[in-house]
């Protein structure tokens, strides 16, 4: 039987790197079809192509027997597709009813009068059908995440979408809210709608979906009905072969505990987080999107405050009120997005490198920064890490991603830090540069520095780290030693099964 949605040979590149390679599969009409895969598998990209936000570089999409060109958001809507993104596309200052019918408005006249009562009634109808208890006159900004999501679903229904795509719909929901969503999805299916959704939560998939498609590294793996699968099978599909462990980095970890985190909690964000970091260790932090790991690390660093729990540095209890505190104690932090929170784009390589260290230089030289000392610092780090640039005065934005990352690392290294917290140290960096960074991390570890690194790519985690802490939904679900590393195990913990 022919698929209702036929996806054929979809390709998509970003800056020469393939996000999707030759994706082909079918989606049956009226089914609930889950798309699964690790972080970076290409799931979001595929959905964005269907939603008209991205345009595929190659391949075609056929819906209900007719080939469709989806070049923008309105084309997608014309095909009967409605996408609910993780960040939602709702207007906070408008009411629920207004948001549900927002696309209708432009179709009416420029100054047309809107019948409030009718709109309220129509909205109530949809909300009642979905058995959602939300007041159509309430402002969206006052709604909870779950309620906002329901409004998005209602919006899709009002647009008479036949195909509803949801991107990680349950990422921010609690158990009860997830149940509610499941009910709604089943209702939609009964109405004949086709649902495509991205999720990494195994339990949900078995409750909600009929079929599962697995992507890995931008490539298509398989599509199977849920009845023929179990959790272990899905994980195996997502993970693929075991990697070659021999290329792994030697551990330099000692017995001495550098940093200890104990029962750290922040209401609604993370709960009871405990783990240790040893001297010379590279500790990996694993978990799927929304698991709370970045928030925990940011809280430890002092970017915001946690509610309860303890952080011990070298045995002494500390609590950082601000990043400056943390830096003074020898802890540093690198974000995952260099452009937003890392580099100072319009400033030179030299200035970026010495941003923090000049404050320490200052003590010896008053407020004037001797150009020679700055240059010396830059040279020191350049030699240590082989950073490539044409001219120290060059704007850092001209450097490659890998070299920019090295500059940021250098910024922290100039300060005699003992603990490095890094979110995705190798994001957006080509393979060769990645190897260099691994080498650097290993050298740092040898000198006794403790490194906490968040890795989304499990291959990297396994290759580089001595131990791994795995997060899921704001809790630590597992701590594994090097010997116990196993992609399937890690993914299982990350998906919700506790140790």
């Amino acid at each position: 039987m022919e698929g209702y949605i036929q996806i054929r040979n979809i390709f998509k590149q970003f800056y020469g790197v393939y996000a999707l390679k030759d994706i082909s599969f079918d989606v049956a009409k009226g089914s609930v079809h889950a798309i699964m895969g690790e972080n970076g598998a290409g799931k979001s990209t595929l959905m964005k192509i269907l939603g008209g936000v991205y345009q595929a570089d190659g391949g075609n999409i056929t819906i209900d027997g007719k080939e469709r060109r989806i070049n923008n958001v309105s084309d997608s809507a014309a095909c009967g597709i409605s996408v609910i993104y993780q960040e939602f596309n709702l207007i906070p200052e408008l009411t629920v009813a207004e948001n549900i019918y927002i696309s209708d408005i432009p179709r009416k006249t420029f100054l047309g009068f809107v019948e409030k009562k009718k709109r309220y009634a129509d909205a109530k109808e949809i909300l009642d059908f979905l058995e959602i208890d939300v007041d159509p006159d309430a402002y969206v900004k006052h709604l909870s995440v779950s309620e906002k999501q329901m409004v998005e679903v209602a919006k899709s229904l009002s647009q008479n979408a036949d195909i509803i795509i949801m991107d990680e719909p349950t990422a921010a929901l609690n158990e009860e809210e997830v149940k509610k969503l499941e009910e709604v999805v089943l209702m939609l299916r009964q109405k004949g709608k086709t649902i495509l959704y991205i999720s990494h939560r195994l339990t949900e998939v078995f409750d909600m979906a009929d079929t599962v498609t697995v992507l890995r590294n931008g490539e298509y793996v398989d599509t199977k009905p849920v009845s023929e699968l179990n959790e272990a099978a899905i994980i195996k599909l997502m993970v693929g072969h075991e990697i070659d462990n021999t290329a792994v980095i030697q551990s330099s970890a000692t017995e001495r505990v550098l940093l200890e985190v104990s029962e750290l909690s922040l209401k609604s964000v993370f709960e009871n987080i405990s783990f240790k970091l040893y001297e010379g260790e590279i500790l990996g932090i694993a978990g799927l999107m929304g698991c709370g790991r970045e928030e925990v690390l940011a809280a430890i660093y002092g970017l915001f405050q946690y509610d309860s729990g303890h952080v011990l540095l070298d045995g002494r209890e500390v609590r950082f009120k601000s990043p400056k505190d943390a830096i003074d104690h020898g802890i540093c932090f690198l974000t995952d997005d260099r452009k937003d929170g890392g580099i100072l784009a319009q400033m030179s390589v030299e200035e970026n490198m010495t941003l923090i260290s000049i404050r320490k230089l200052k003590k010896k030289l008053g407020f004037y920064i001797k150009p020679k000392s700055e240059a010396k610092q830059l040279k020191q780090m350049t030699d240590f890490m082989s950073i490539k640039y044409a001219d120290p005065k060059q704007k850092i934005s001209y450097l490659s991603g890998g070299n920019q990352q090295k500059v940021l690392l250098g910024r922290e290294l100039l300060l005699d830090n003992k603990v490095f917290i890094m979110l995705e140290p190798t994001r957006g960096i080509d393979v060769g540069a990645k190897e260099e960074i691994y080498g650097l991390l290993s050298r740092l570890a040898k000198e006794g520095i403790g490194i906490i690194a968040v890795f989304s790519d499990m291959n990297e985690l396994i290759k580089v780290c001595d131990r791994a802490v795995i997060f899921c939904d704001g809790r630590v679900t597992g701590i594994l030693k090097r010997e116990e590393f196993n992609k399937e195990r890690i993914l299982t913990f990350a998906s919700g099964r506790e140790a």
Binding site: L303, S322, P323, K324, A326, I327, D328, F333, T335, D340, G341, G342, I343, L344, A345, Q346, M347, E351, L355, I356, I358, R359, K362, F367, Y368, I369, P371, D391, K393, R411
Partner: protein, 322 residues
């Protein structure tokens, strides 16, 4: 020898061309007195523009400086007759810093957008000037003081000397001090600064206090030149200062800028206005001219983006055809 980036310092080129053309075309332009007067005019706006450069690099604005000049002028002139020259100069600097402090606290610690805050102080400061003096004008007669505005040391007007000295200091502070580095970093990425442990609130507040100090010095020069302090002075001062900074190539979005460029742009601005006068262009048209120049300066960003987009498009076509 530092490599000089021509693109960044385009304004120097424009100034040189302008001067060469005017020198050749107009005999009145060449007069020593005329050139001196250009430098004098440039200094009055320029000194304030130095402070404004810091503020704009940081990503903010200060619209209140004109009213500060009114207020500070009255305070200074008032004290001069009773307390003497030096004390009144010191006091005016102190009050300038206080005015800047007021702006800074509201912007940095209460998170009120800079343009609205300084709009509020724009009215408040001038109102205070009126109140202090009942809208009268105070005449200054101290001859030493008057020299600050109208005198010259050799061929060079005193205000210009002050301007250059402050400019050099400003350059050093911006490029070679930790504080200057922090200001530029803040204009680039506030998040990166926070993560790096920089106290962003303090940096902002200090920048506005610095602005207040620069305005105070500008006030000294302006009041000395006019030989009186009045409450109606400098009503478009913020406009002139911001135009000069933007003309110098500093983008309104912040993150980069150059004191040197600001200095050159101040001279250019004064030159243009001087030329308009020489050619007897009506005062009414002059305003429009200046407004158009500002529009052009603001549009630099847009024009740059256009160029970038055109380059991207042509590159895309190449890769698509490949």
């Amino acid at each position: 020898m530092k490599k000089i980036n021509i693109g960044k310092h385009a304004v120097v080129l424009i100034l040189i061309i302008f001067w060469i053309v005017m020198y050749a075309m107009s005999s009145s332009f060449r007069l020593g007195d005329n050139l001196k007067s250009i430098l004098r005019e440039a200094s009055m706006t320029g000194i304030a523009a130095l402070g404004m450069t810091f503020i704009i690099i940081m990503g903010d604005f200060d619209l209140s400086i004109g009213s500060m000049v009114a207020l500070l002028g009255i305070v200074m002139a008032g004290f001069m007759n009773s307390a003497g020259l030096i004390p009144s100069l010191v006091i005016v600097c102190a009050i300038g810093v206080v005015c800047g402090f007021i702006n800074g606290v509201i912007i940095a610690y209460f998170n009120v957008p800079a343009f609205i805050t300084t709009l509020g102080t724009y009215y408040s400061f001038r109102a205070m000037a009126y109140i202090l003096n009942d809208a009268n004008t105070i005449i200054c007669t101290n001859p030493v003081f008057l020299k600050i505005g109208s005198g010259s040391i050799g061929v060079i007007p005193v205000p210009f000397i002050i301007f250059i000295v402050l400019g050099v200091i400003g350059c050093i502070v911006l490029n070679r001090t930790v504080y200057g580095r922090n200001v530029r970093a803040l204009g680039n990425s506030e998040k990166a600064c926070k993560i790096s442990g920089i106290n962003t609130k303090k940096v902002k507040m200090l920048a506005f206090m610095l602005m207040g100090l620069c305005t105070a010095v500008s006030t000294m020069v302006i009041t000395a030149r006019q030989a009186c302090a009045s409450t109606d002075v400098a009503t478009n001062f913020h406009f002139d200062a911001i135009t000069v900074v933007v003309l110098g190539g500093t983008k309104l979005t912040g993150g980069e800028g150059s004191i040197f460029n600001t200095i050159i742009a101040a001279i250019l601005y004064a030159t243009i206005s001087n030329c308009l006068n020489l050619y007897h262009v009506d005062a009414k048209w002059q305003r429009i001219c200046m407004g158009l120049i500002l529009l052009m300066a603001f549009s630099f960003g847009f024009i740059q983006q256009l160029i970038v987009k055109m380059r991207e498009n042509s590159q895309k076509k190449i890769t698509q055809n490949a």
